[in-house]
């Protein structure tokens, strides 16, 4: 589980996908894309908020243990309202992908 997982809510998006006719491999494929897109967006938000030195330090901490709660402790000490910012970018991307799913459902 990524250190930011609790700030990312994919329930509505997954509910939409759950209704689609997808094979196991198609489901896995799309899910991997969702998670990876969210990961890149969140990591970009985080690294963009840090100084170069703090970025390097943060990446070293991530290399040691990518699931550690210390990562959020570190970020909370460096960036104002980082949790809110992570939530915001995640929510925006999830909404975007949810719209894509609704659009896809209309295709025949």
């Amino acid at each position: 589980m990524a250190f930011y997982t609790k700030y990312v809510v994919v329930e509505s998006l997954v509910s939409e996908l759950h209704e689609m006719d997808l094979s196991e491999s198609e489901r896995a494929h799309l899910s991997a894309l969702i998670d990876s897109n969210l990961h890149h967006q969140i990591m970009d938000e985080i690294l963009s908020s840090l100084s170069v030195d703090d970025k390097k330090l943060f990446i070293k901490l991530m290399e040691k243990d990518p699931e550690s709660e210390r990562l959020m402790e570190f970020l909370n000490g460096k960036v104002d309202n980082i949790e809110g910012r992570i939530q915001k970018v995640a929510d925006e991307l999830v909404s975007e992908m949810e719209k894509d799913v609704k659009e896809a459902k209309k295709i025949k």
Partner: protein, 291 residues
Amino acid sequence: MLFSSKKPHYEHLRKKWTAKHRSLQEKFFDKHSDVGRQIALGSLGSLMLLTTPNATALPGHNLVADSGQITRVKDNNAVLAEDLKDKVPTDMRSLSITEEQDIGTILTESFGFNVSAELQGKRLNRSYGLIGGEQHLYRYPGDNLIKHADNASDWAMYGSSGIAPGLGAWGYFTSSEAQMTSKDIMREKYYIAVQTFLAPGFSERTAEYRDFFKYRKMLLINPKTGQAVVTDIADAGPSEFTGKHLGGSPEVMHAIGLAQGPRKGAVLYFFIDDPNDTIPLGPIKVPEREA
């Protein structure tokens, strides 16, 4: 591996999200190339792989979906499998007391905590048996299958197992979503169902045995591969007529390499003596042995 699909809705999403991914990646590496200079770009790329959930499925030009199967562990757990080879019967039968003691000793020495087929004078009907896949369990009133997924890949891997129509043996894990703790989440994630009703002494001292079995931790081992997971007892079953001796949650089946195909296989299941609740639930690796 090239995908071809006759499902236009799937193709639409695949293309759109792959393009999005490419664009996010390019933007990411452009913006953060300053860090890339200090750490070799390969490392940063690897870091993205390491930290992306379900990293083996990181999309590329021709995306390969994650099969959802944990592959055979190539480390001390494989050594454990070798150690167990001569101790575990080749046919599916109950272990003798001597076999249980020998295996318990190997597991205790391998993992560094006490593991045994009998604990506090109580035991199950067997400690080596056939496990089958179970469904998710409702954790609180109003829970649903989608809420069990931490991320989209969780849903893809474990969602297809569905959710049991009834509650586990101990009822709900917690009274509401708001009160659910990480312990409750992990208890459901890594639960097993065992034949508590067949345990020697169960019918004579039901309440006492119920209290003993409730969320009792058990070490589950796939003896062929050494894959191991710390589980807890959260349900009773399966019925004897099924031919199976215990059941594992979707996450447990995945952790021991039995999530694909028939979702069935032979496993060892031994009690963990953990009075202070320090051993975390979930997949466990055999630590390096001190020289």
